[in-house]
Symmetry: C2
Subunit: 193 residues, 2 copies
DNA sequence: ATGTTTCCACCTAGGTGAAAACTT
DNA sequence: AAGTTTTCACCTAGGTGGAAACAT
């Protein structure tokens, strides 16, 4: 339940499927990205608490570039090694959770706010809705945001309402990953939760 | 754009895919229901106008039993004929549109509020969420409701908030159908919209 | 040759129409 | 035997891992 918070207030976010993520963190740490976009495995699921029930919030996610290095998987030792300098840190438009906007009651009633529709891609040419563009072979960490918006806000306008200076956030060390376009570690398997 | 309204106010609902529904009304008028639930074809899609932008509404749908007769498809003439008395008129819990609750802005921004997830069933034993239970071989008409609710309402509580006396409604003659468990009319085909 | 990306056949989940089964 | 219901194989859409292709 690693949690930092940006903005004071009692808002808390807890990463679910903690065992799965721990295993991921120990064994693999690699996340596939493809041209057409690939879903994350494991899926980021969080439990959100401490919202004001009647207020309206949107929830969104972005990937924090941990550094500007490039990584390579080295076979004899089966470890990730630094392999030079990567792309400079950039800002991408966050992925807005499809249930947004919704009231505090709704977000908290849900046992798990899941980002299972999110896709990761390396296709820089066309920006597709629902996909986050990342650089290959670089290290990222998942970060989730909760931001209050006006009750009348609608889905289409949400991207313009993103204001990270007035939002709560949490990032989860277990979700740190290195982007690949094909699995490097052969131990990687896809068991369900 | 057949519209009746229950409650005054400028709320209007228009049935979309009118050509498709007209063809349905002229050629077929039969709707499949199965044990496990079957989606409607055509799908009910409506355009909603005249809501107060900032207010919160839920939208739901029910099936009005047109009469208590039982119908049979007679082949030589290829027509539906009355074939005796059916089940008495009953009340079923309405199907709440999965986007509920949402603000007036959101409902009106959508070019078509579609009930494409709705399933119709003849399975009276277990009441399944997302399915409407109907009697076979009887005649029904689709009716759509719009009801204002408090901003803090959440999905799980909506069924208890249904109050048809304080809701707008519209029913569409073109959507009148007779329930069957297998197609009677061989001309029935499933072209897309 | 090695490291990286794209492509593609497999697999799965779920919806559909028609054959099979059931009923009266 | 006719009418009605259920079952089931086909089809489709979309996600996945490994094979093929590409690049350095």
């Amino acid at each position: 339940e690693g949690v930092d918070d940006g903005c004071g207030g009692g808002v808390s976010m807890q990463l679910l499927q903690y065992d799965l993520w721990t295993k991921f963190h120990n064994l693999s740490t690699e996340m596939i990205i493809t041209k057409n976009g690939r879903r994350m495995f494991p899926v980021v699921k969080v439990k959100i608490r401490g919202l004001r029930p009647e207020k309206t919030y949107m929830v969104y996610l972005d990937m924090v570039a941990v550094d500007t290095r490039r990584y390579r998987y080295v076979y004899p030792s089966s470890r990730w090694m630094v392999a030079g300098t990567g792309e400079p840190l950039g800002q991408h438009t966050p992925y807005i959770h499809p249930d947004s906007p919704a009231t505090g009651v709704q977000w908290m009633a849900s046992p798990a706010v899941a980002f299972d529709r999110l896709k990761l891609t390396n296709n820089k040419t066309r920006e597709v809705k629902g996909q986050i563009i990342l650089h290959s072979m670089q290290k990222y960490r998942t970060r989730v945001w909760v931001q209050e918006v006006e009750a009348g806000a609608c889905w289409g306008d949400l991207p313009h309402l993103v204001d990270q200076t007035h939002a709560h956030h949490a990032s989860f060390p277990e979700t740190t990953f290195i982007t690949v376009t094909a699995y490097q570690n052969q131990q990687r398997t896809g068991e369900a939760s």
